[in-house]
Symmetry: C2
Amino acid sequence: MVDPRISVINQRLNGIKRIVAVSSGKGGVGKSVVATVLALLLAKEGCRVGLFDLDFTGPSTHIILGVPKGVEPKEEKGLVPPTFDGLAYMSLVYFVGDNPAPLRGVDVSNALIELLSVTQWGKLDFLVIDMPPGIGDPVLDLVRLVERIEFLIITTPSLLAFEVVKKQIALLCELKMPIIGVVENMKMNKATDVQVETEKLGLKYLGAIPYDPLVEATIGNPVKLLETTVASTMSQFKISTKPKK
Amino acid sequence: MVDPRISVINQRLNGIKRIVAVSSGKGGVGKSVVATVLALLLAKEGCRVGLFDLDFTGPSTHIILGVPKGVEPKEEKGLVPPTFDGLAYMSLVYFVGDNPAPLRGVDVSNALIELLSVTQWGKLDFLVIDMPPGIGDPVLDLVRLVERIEFLIITTPSLLAFEVVKKQIALLCELKMPIIGVVENMKMNKATDVQVETEKLGLKYLGAIPYDPLVEATIGNPVKLLETTVASTMSQFKISTKPKK
């Protein structure tokens, strides 16, 4: 039986050319910063971009962007995302609030599905999703529900982190999900292990982002964030930014 | 109604003087390394110590310790943990294997409860638990099921990480869980924000562990791990290592 929500959700996402899920098997690898910078860079190039924060373990892109309290979605046959810094912006934080009470498993899935079904993105070249970390139920739900989802995998040079990320890659490959490539974040040396292993897996190694202690001070200020080495490095990556026809 | 599993589990844990849950609201903060070093340091002081890896999002203490394949629990009216490097050692990895297939939500809870019910720890001064990150269902289950659990909270200096950790702290306080204190891991500068905020919350700031790039090379070698600045710093922390009577 086909899940009826799949068609509702994908009708909602119909006006979007590419859906890029920024994802990591491991938490704390800088996924949210990379997702935010990617969205800002694409917008700067003139693309119509949406940023969608679905990281229920701690939505943080609103903090990184410095979205002020008043900027909120509008109800109009669903929810229309506000525009902030050139991005159409939507976050789980608007749905569950910024409180400590955790969602139980089923509620997380329901919240994700609800947000996917009600958000009116309109026409976009790119929707960048800040994914929940790991490969638990919510990630599997997204994989199952969102057609045309493509993965950008973030890791750090840490062997422990990459071990976990490799499991995620194995799972995505098993599910035949398209993977754009692997980004090595917070690089502090010249080790090539992650690059070598990535290429051995038949995946594209997009490059390394050097650890930049100055990023911390740009949190809440997208203009300054785009001046960091994270942004200048990422702007060199050969992520095809031409939306597929 | 009282959950009957609570009494079974706590009977199993009856011979243990203190149960320390090493925990973080945020992934990737070095929780598993800190938990492993804590267990090794306590054992070195002459305590009887167990290390229990319940991080279903990617159990890694067996990699940090370098536990060889043959070292496995023995079945004997339950599971008897093998002893490795002076620690009684048990991990979810023995239960679910090291494969990429993720457990669905209910299975995670069942696996945790099953492991807690069958493991024969015997008499210990300390059981150090490497907790799942975040404040999702499995953490709530552990809080509910394990009496006498005390939390050691790990964060990094990153404001984004600490924002998420603060939510976890708020939740634990609401649940009236004892918190031993907060450890700031991977410190690279002299910023005092985390210390100031921790003390404002009425919690003990145990100290900062400097970022040590040499830790990576000690993965799999506990003797070398104890020679890092992570271990020398942690040995100075005023975590009361006297088991409560």
